[in-house]
Subunit: 330 residues, 4 copies
Amino acid sequence: MRVILHSRQIWRSSLSAVNSFCRGFSTTVSNQQRLDISGIYPPIATPFNNDESIAFDKLEENFQKWNKLPFRGYVVQGSNGEYAYLNIEERLEMLRRCVDLADKNKLIMAGSGCESTRDTIMMTEKMAKIGAQVVLVVTPCYYKSGMTNTALINHFTKVADASPVPVILYSVPGNTGIDLSPEVIITLSQHPNIAGLKDSGGDISKLGNLVYRTKDNDFQILAGSAGFLYAGYAVGCVGGVCALANVLGQETCDVETLFKSGKHSEARDLQHRLISPNAHITKLYGVPGLKAAMEMFGYYGGPTRSPLQPLTKQEHDKVKQAFTSTGFLK
Amino acid sequence: MRVILHSRQIWRSSLSAVNSFCRGFSTTVSNQQRLDISGIYPPIATPFNNDESIAFDKLEENFQKWNKLPFRGYVVQGSNGEYAYLNIEERLEMLRRCVDLADKNKLIMAGSGCESTRDTIMMTEKMAKIGAQVVLVVTPCYYKSGMTNTALINHFTKVADASPVPVILYSVPGNTGIDLSPEVIITLSQHPNIAGLKDSGGDISKLGNLVYRTKDNDFQILAGSAGFLYAGYAVGCVGGVCALANVLGQETCDVETLFKSGKHSEARDLQHRLISPNAHITKLYGVPGLKAAMEMFGYYGGPTRSPLQPLTKQEHDKVKQAFTSTGFLK
Amino acid sequence: MRVILHSRQIWRSSLSAVNSFCRGFSTTVSNQQRLDISGIYPPIATPFNNDESIAFDKLEENFQKWNKLPFRGYVVQGSNGEYAYLNIEERLEMLRRCVDLADKNKLIMAGSGCESTRDTIMMTEKMAKIGAQVVLVVTPCYYKSGMTNTALINHFTKVADASPVPVILYSVPGNTGIDLSPEVIITLSQHPNIAGLKDSGGDISKLGNLVYRTKDNDFQILAGSAGFLYAGYAVGCVGGVCALANVLGQETCDVETLFKSGKHSEARDLQHRLISPNAHITKLYGVPGLKAAMEMFGYYGGPTRSPLQPLTKQEHDKVKQAFTSTGFLK
Amino acid sequence: MRVILHSRQIWRSSLSAVNSFCRGFSTTVSNQQRLDISGIYPPIATPFNNDESIAFDKLEENFQKWNKLPFRGYVVQGSNGEYAYLNIEERLEMLRRCVDLADKNKLIMAGSGCESTRDTIMMTEKMAKIGAQVVLVVTPCYYKSGMTNTALINHFTKVADASPVPVILYSVPGNTGIDLSPEVIITLSQHPNIAGLKDSGGDISKLGNLVYRTKDNDFQILAGSAGFLYAGYAVGCVGGVCALANVLGQETCDVETLFKSGKHSEARDLQHRLISPNAHITKLYGVPGLKAAMEMFGYYGGPTRSPLQPLTKQEHDKVKQAFTSTGFLK
């Protein structure tokens, strides 16, 4: 039905659009100072009470623990924040609380993506006003066949033109069915207000190529999952937005530290242990798996909103097993 | 990435959930009277001005033409209504106007689907209050791996339990990446407040099987595209929600009339001519194609909201050609 | 990964290739006499002994039953014939036996497709010599990204140019991952030695459109599955190659008879009952399901070749249930 | 249609099969000595003359160049060898020549995969006799829905039981549509005659996890593409089978050397430059792209067999541009 890929045809047909677009930017960004976004971010889960209202008290408890960790900042309303299940007011209120609860030295990256360009701009402006220092803008995805390279370039350009704060592109094909193409990303990397990319697709060749092709633009790429965090660093990513950091925050930051200090084999060994736990709280069991794991590590997880379902007993055991077999849980 | 299908494994794993669920309904619906939804519906386009505000005056002009046609009713905020690009207030206001503008003998079917169950229930209740006589509820789709059969059954059941008006299931895998499975549909067909299904996937074997398997439940299936409308009738569908009816309303209704009067070869011949025009305003060029075609036939089409892009000159010509080569345009 | 579809880009990029190609045929086929291939064909299963050798004696037993049925002919080495598991000599010997065993008034359609053009031509020539009256040529599929419209048009043209007997195109995306596009089919329908198409994809809009677009070329389309046989006839197909005809041969032929005599509601009702049994021996359980069902109806089914696996007890019960619940088995 | 992934359901349903299987091996392989397969291999292209016959003289010329490079060995009849277009005799003859032409210190890894288990065993035995020191066995793929974990485990086990030489599993979903699952690989890693895996899918999390989960079995993983070669080494792969090594043999080997000597940033920088050239000869333009590039670097490329098509002038220029823009060509 649809069609994540780089077939020859798509590659070819997109080039003219991309080329004609590139001339549009009169200056390159190479001499500009980008906001440094390097580091590790948990895309924080939104805690709910049993009646599905937001549990702000539990949010505060979680932040007390997270604030002690060497995160670069927090992503509020990434996919793991169940942002798709929050209404506009809730999205803004949730951000307001996070801005308040987060340590002042942490960067607040807020997910402001909506399906329409106008809603995304509106949300971006409001979030910046509340205190988001950077916004994470997911690809629109409902009208899949209409999300051509041209459409996506136009969308992100309009949002970046309007945004008071830097924009990070967000590609998460597992949820959206849209994999932001290298052509779109490279084109957009020239925009002075687009500072980077969060890529959850995990195609490591694509990530390496993007680092290489955008290196003159001071463009920063964040690995979108702890499953390929070390490999991401190895090919030139500057950090990661990792669901697993909600649970194993220190260990996720340790991957960065080990990499940066040149301890490659230690980084690899830690990475190895993280993959299966990470898979259980992302592609295998999603947000319900993440919240279950948070409970295992002393955080408040709580229920998801419906239609996401709680784990069965058997699924819960598998999540636990993924953390025990790798030595993170007794 | 994901995964529209009925693999063996999915089939198997879903059965226990389905079976255990079925026991939940204490009464069958076989003796109940369902709302008759048979007939043809245009999923009406939302007209916009050049500044992307809703052009209610143009909506009125379009309704003056549509009201003269033998439609069973109107779908307000199907995918072709760009509902994903309307905010809550716009969705409700748009419905209010349509209720007002539609001939009183037309059924108003309103798209009330949202990502979360709670938002869907809220929207459903508000739309029913405004005048929707039946609601069309699309599958949630953002957390794709979480949209198991169990999750979808729970979602639609909760919505149907709460809804003041009958619910129609809506499966549109081209947009959502989720194809509602036969098991889910058959299970839900037993719910007294779920009256039918709009299926835009177009798997004619699936549709025939669903007609057969749900025939004791007075469950009604609508073809979700003019491309398989006659074939849909042939296997037992009771009508269609067809983007093409925005443009070729009479001709779309003629398929129904020819079928019902047993003129199968005429129905087939008309169907043949409709397929290519229909493809150009749906899977090939989507809503921008639909709106371009509306202009060709004297309706107001106007722009889409961004990020959907207007047709290029070449694309526009192809749409026109699809209608001229089949004799619908001079 | 891949990419069955008609995205806009693919549509566009293919047109120039197709257009330039079309000029290549100096004469149209409209005045030529095509071989009439209309009717129902079982794609016969290849019977194996427990040691995986071909059980020619069992083949003879099966033919004794099949020959009593009003089939138009037999497909030897369609996908259900496990042709991919036969070596060259076996493919030819199997055909030789079938030519011998089939009633003389039956058409023999032999699957001669190979991955390379040269092997396909070689196989086609040998099969024609042995007695195939028409060949069924599957799309090559291993180098998926290389199977562009241009490559496929060239392949089938070379094969048809060389073939002593008419060629039928064969699109079976469930196995090959390649869905022969309308552009390719319409272009090839102009070749004087390409008589038709077997389409197992089941997109009924595509089939209707192909009937319409190729009607001046006397091009004949066969439904590739009993699941959409009646709908296929309704939109203009002239017959079907149906795995189910191995098992329910009379009933499959009855769909044709009912359709042709204008008994649409009876045809629909019979079609309804056939869908689930058909699904169990095709997409759900494949050849192992087909062979299990053959045993239930007095044919020799026997084992498949490895790596295909025999049904589990539970799967076997489900196949049986599909035939009993629809009244075909007691 | 099909379904490369690890959905929850598939994961779950496969576990019981896997677990029951594991008990089947009476001894672990941890104390056994595996053949060391570490290092870089070109999957050599099969050179053809213009009439599509094999150009053995050109093969010899190519080997004279390749033999000077620090390859660990050669893969004969990987996907890039167009093995799918060679008949049985050609496959064996081609191997015979390669055994003869390769330097005696090079390992010969021969692709012996066929669709059926019996043909694969036959081919494996013949290739071992000719001189293959290890065989690369691709996943069967035609009957996709039948290629369950159980079927694949049985297939590879039977082949490994019968093979006189070690077996390497080969997963190449871009061609086959089948991504060998971690469960299957981990299970098979316990077989004493299965020495490793070539994975061309490129999911770096999967590769890291496999290294971790099979480390007690002395199981060796080869990156299946130069696009993720350095990342592959970083997560624990022991080498690579890289189409690009046909063209840039020294540079591909340099990635290994840099990695092994701890020069991570140099390895990364070289890797960055290799990604785009590699993409142009693999996923973008496939074997025709590879052969065109070989010509640019003094090797004999020549035509592919049909239905693969030669590059257009424009495509040829893009391939050239990929190598010039990265500094590999003047």
